[in-house]
Amino acid sequence: MRWQANHFQALLIEDWGEEYTVFQPDSGKTHFFNLMSMQMLIFLNQNPATPEEISVHLATQFHQAMDNSFLINIEKTLHHFDTLGLVSKLHQSSQHGGQSDSV
């Protein structure tokens, strides 16, 4: 399953030095993100990705061990983002390279 960011360009983002406040016009809500959450959202805006691909990208960027607990945390954050309407699952027909769901 690939995920993509929703309306990323419409978000208002204030950078407070590794912490971010993000205004989401679609919901009228303000969210508070740490650096890793923000990088995840930026990554999903640039490339629709599976949780495994996100994990690899963030583990490299933040020098984290790419283990199962890290992947579970990524999936939890994705689910949270999905609840907020910040990301959505990419439909099968528009997936890169015709890859099938992998979660």
């Binding site: 208002l12 204030e14 407070w16 030095g17 912490e19 971010y20 406040t21 016009p25 009228g28 508070f32």
Partner: protein, 302 residues
Amino acid sequence: MVVNQIPFREFHLLLLNQGLRVAIGPFNVCIHTAYKPLAEQLYKLYCHYRMAQDEIAEFHVRIVTERSFKNPFKKNVRFLLDGQSPFGSFPQEQALAVLEWGINLAIAVRVNHLLLLHSAVVEKNGHAILFPAWPGSGKTTLCTVLSNRGFRLFSDEFGLMDPRQRLFLPIPRLMPLKNESIAVIRRYLPEIVMGQSIPNTQKGTVAHVCPPEQSILLSKQAAKARWIIFPKWIAGSQSKIEAISDSEAFMLLASNAFNYEALGATGFLAVADLIHSCDCYKLVYSDFDDVMDMLHKLMNET
């Protein structure tokens, strides 16, 4: 013309008939009441407010008396905003407190062209200092002290920010001290003009303090904020002021506003701009002299 330039009889007739219009910060409020004890209290406590009889009033409020259902020999009062009653009725001796809460409610629910922070605001040397806090944090008490010790009162309740000009607008209203704060302030500021104590309100005993005359006279002079201080009064505590991160200050401030969500992106950008332009702190205190020393130190460091 200010209220104390007219005799009580004329003041009372205005309240009875066409309504008394007073300028309270950026708003004009038209007050009607036939309840004479309230008229007497208002004549004393509103003495420095400018009258605005020929101007448009943003809020039309009224205190009416009615018989109590439970006890027909007892009279209650009811607050009306544009003829609508947002509260139940209250014992008539609470009329002033009910009127003041009613005007606060009107501002909180009707004003959406300004960002409304739940905050005390004072000004010194052209800079506004915000004290955002929820009820019970001691902001009215602190504000009463500061506004009588060299700081100009903007408000003990509302931080009114014009989001386009990034300016705070003064709205100096009566300051309702509650419970132990009443005796504390009577001891600390014996010279202060305070209304009578009103017992058994929904917030306990309340007594209203008249804002300093100078603060009311200068209520057209807006200011930009320079410091945001989240206060907490804790009995017997050692006074302490600590810088907080901008991100924490943002979330505290945004969650403290009455209409942040209603303003949408305008509110977000206004709060972000405010945090960028201010130094933000958390303050724990129990001693007013300590607070004033800390504030003067902050201002001198700038």
